[in-house]
């Protein structure tokens, strides 16, 4: 039987279905777990995903209210036992607000408003992330330097920490995914770096590597023919006249969920 993953559905979350579908596409079993259920019921799952959306209407700060939910307390305990936890977009904001990322020392980071030239607020685009040397289970088996196109869609995705903190996390392999240019080098400018994140961080994990806060949306990139037409290279969507019937194949976002599956199969 395949390992089971809970997709946490707090009020205002809006990516639960495609996230569950992505998990299933990787060969795992997914359950959308309603926030009105007893948090203790979560203990039986092997891994957890907090999907994207606008939990609690982004009141106070994005993710701030959900971070206080008893469910997140249970996730923290299960994460301490080594179970994987992935927060995507608003889910990443929840994990940072709850102090699960980078973990161990309370709330150390913030996901601040995007910093973008001549614009403000919510922004959507396909960007690229580069895999770094890391213990993160969601990058398991992915070569450092590999470049993966993913869509981003957020208004507050700029990782910031106290002076030197993000540099230290980078050195510890806790920034597994960084915004990158098409040539594979780390992005230094908008829009390759869409939000001005410190160290061009797209995702930050805990020291053990089992909890990841990731701003882009891998669950929206499960099929190769869904890749944006602005993306060239290995992951580019095939032109219609090049495509054999029914072909298309797996998309770049599936790599992260497959990494989770490999990890769970070994665990």
């Amino acid at each position: 039987m395949s390992a089971s993953v809970a997709v946490i559905q707090l009020p205002g979350v809006n990516c639960e279905r495609e996230t569950a579908a992505a998990i299933e596409a990787a060969g795992l079993s997914a359950t959308v777990f309603a926030g009105t259920r007893a948090p203790e019921d979560l203990r039986g799952f092997d891994a957890f995903v907090i999907p994207g959306g606008f939990s609690y209407q982004d009141r106070v700060r994005a993710g701030a209210l959900a971070a206080k939910h008893p469910i997140v307390g249970v996730l923290a305990e299960e994460a301490d036992r080594g179970k994987p936890v992935l927060g995507i977009c608003n889910g990443a904001q929840v994990l940072v607000e709850a102090g699960l990322v980078p973990g161990g020392a309370g709330v150390e980071l913030a996901l601040a408003r995007n910093r973008m030239p001549a614009r403000d607020g919510y922004y959507t685009r396909w960007i690229r992330v580069r895999v770094e040397e890391t213990p993160c289970v969601f990058a398991r088996g992915l070569e450092p330097g590999l470049v993966i196109p993913l869509p981003m869609a957020h208004g507050e995705g700029r990782f910031v920490g106290a002076t030197g903190r993000m540099e230290a996390l980078e050195a510890a392999g806790q920034i597994p995914f960084r915004y990158a240019r098409s040539d594979g080098r780390v992005a230094t400018e908008f829009p390759d770096d869409p939000n001005g994140s410190e160290r061009a961080a797209a995702g930050v994990c805990n020291a053990r590597g089992n909890v990841l806060a990731l701003m882009p949306h891998p669950e929206r990139a499960i099929a190769r023919d869904a890749v944006a037409r602005s993306i060239a290279g290995a992951w580019s969507a095939p032109a219609p006249c090049d495509l054999d019937a029914g072909a298309g194949g797996p998309g770049p976002g599936l790599l992260l969920f497959r990494a989770l599956r490999e990890h769970l199969e070994d665990a």
């Binding site: 990516c15 495609e18 959507t124 580019s236 006249c241 029914g246």
Partner: protein, 791 residues
Amino acid sequence: MSLGVRVPPAFALEELDRPERVSESLRARGVRLDADEVVLLARLLGRAPAWAEAVLFGILWSEHCSYKSTRHLLRRLPTRAPQVVLGPGEDAGVVSLPAPSADQVLVLAHESHNHPSQVLPVEGAATGVGGIVRDVACMGATVVGVLDSLRFGDPASGIHVRDVIRGVVEGVAGYGNPLGVPNLGGDTVFDAGYDRNVLVNVMAVGLAPADGVLRSRVPAGDEAWVFVLVGKPTDSSGFGGAAFASDALKGDDDRGAVQLPDPFLKRVLSVANEAAFARLRERGVRAGFKDLGAGGVACATSELAAAGGRGARIHLDRAHRVARPLAAEVLLCAETQERFCWVVPESFAAELCDLYQREFAIGSVYPGAAATIIGEVTDDGRFTVDWSGDVLVDCDVTAITAGREVRRPSRVRVPEAPGEPDGTAPAAPLAARVEWLLERLEVCPREYLTRHYDGEVQGRARLRAGEADASVIRAGAVGAGGGSAVSLAFASGGHPRWCAADPQAGARHAVAEAARKVAAVGAVPWALTDCLNYGDALDPAVMGDLEAGIDGLAAAAEALGGLAATGAPLPFVSGNVSLYNVSDGVSIPPSPIVMCAGVIDADVPPVPMALTRAGDVLVRVGAAPVTLTGSAFLRATAGSAASGGAPPPLDLEREAALHAFAVASARERRAAAAHAVGDGGTLVAIVEMLRAGPAEPGLGVDVRVPGGEPVDMTLFSECPAIVFAVPADRAGAFAEDARLQGLDAAAWGEVTGGGRFVVAAGAETASWDAGTVRAMGGRVLERIWNEELDS
């Protein structure tokens, strides 16, 4: 039943000998009933109406709800075709889908939120999205996309236009993004004709199980049926919104008539609704469902009852509402957002309320949100509302549905003649002419605005806005691969300048444009929705334009439905009319806006517009570029006040052949890309194709313009056509096949790997770095958005 003593009538029967005076005095108290309507209402009731009744009928007979000025004209639109499950009449239209998706139906709706968006742009646009999403959801559907067609004023006209632009975009984004419904594009036009009257048209699309469509009526059957009101507690927001939307904007403070949106509650309600749909199917329980819009509780419950041929008794005291006191007519008719009304068997009602209140805890999501039983279905054919021991409303349901029809005088006008270059434009080199056109507001990319919108939530996206002429989503289960389900394409059309020059021909173009964009991605044009946005209905010239517009829509729809069903029209399945878009006596340009939905076979890859392969040949197929009339180029060269003349000719038979050719090309995987010629003409279309592709591999284009002088006509003509990118070894046969279908076809050069954009036209040439051309016009909207202006 007699009326309670404490409810005074809205007027005394004796006053009816001067109905104009009654009408005026009601209007002064906020109820808009014309003199003849005052008389009619008293006759229908057989007595003087109670105050709440006057309020209710003022809303029911508003233009917004009753279509009284247009109902007889709308019958001219074709609405029947084999794929139509449910045509216009309910909140949304429904069409069937072909195998392997025949177990699903497609639900479509289209509305305007023009007046509110002018007054309060953020809230107006947001509630526009919210309302149209409810219209689709209440058919038992999952809403899988929204589109918006925006008609803004000229940003050069001043700060107020720019505030509206920013507000509307923020409203669409601020509601749609949290709701979790992807934005599938639409179109944005800037024209000084909208300086005081913005148009915000919103379309929503949904998928429902073929056997699970809910109707907005009491189901047949002997069960004891009850009404369950679900959602936000009723407050006074949006009270009078329908009447507000049926009048000219006067500059008064009308902001109280604009509804207040809450996408957070709506998201939770949407998830709960879908759980309720599933529960009903599982149990085999029948139900009726309707969203609350204009007229609130009164309209929703009375229409549910009337549509089922039954009566209703509503106990208003039971409705959940905000704590502060509300006047009874406000509670009855306010347009508070995020509410729905169910009709379910009494035996199921408690379970339904429990689903919303306990499983989805809507009361903890929004204070006071609830699900409550507010009344029951009766057999007496009457609609009654009681409140604190009084009877507020007591009338025959047939009075509610009687509807109103008003024949307004109309005057047909002579369309403008075709425009031609008058020779006054200063001679400029080809490169300058191209650069200058690409920087024009009407031609520049809309990307700065659309990057505010989430186009990918739900994980169904196959082609996003800006990547193809139509947005394409998968109809199948989320996450399923291609091949297992059809894909769906959506695009909109409507050109204000063309409709202003020739209301009939402009409307034909609106249908053809929307269907052409859908066909360009390889989708069979399947169904249409429309919104007729016009000015002051009391102006005979406006009514003449409206009538001509409807005739134009009908003519094009009759001609372009053959790909879905041989011999059948392309059916209009849902629509809306928005009149009185007028300020200080100045009406907007005639603005019919059309959405076309299309269906792509399960095993056919949709065709993007992006150029991605060096060596591909560009083939322009359609009507030959034989005139500049109506073109952006002509308007630009003739000065800003110029209309550009009549729209280009549109041969509907050839247009149908073009759609058939594009769909066949997609099925046979002959093309790498396709893009319809639009504002700016063929050269601009080629630039847009380059821009849609990746920047990195250094692709360029060698454009070799066929034919001789005058080159501007060939380059910038907006005669209808599609530019295809075709593998070089197949390009000759491709063009030849198009000609066999009676279409003009010509090669326009090729995609290169050289990173240059080169144009050779007649004796002229121009050349740029491809990156330079891609960037042209890219800062226009960014500058307008960020520029500080004094008010």
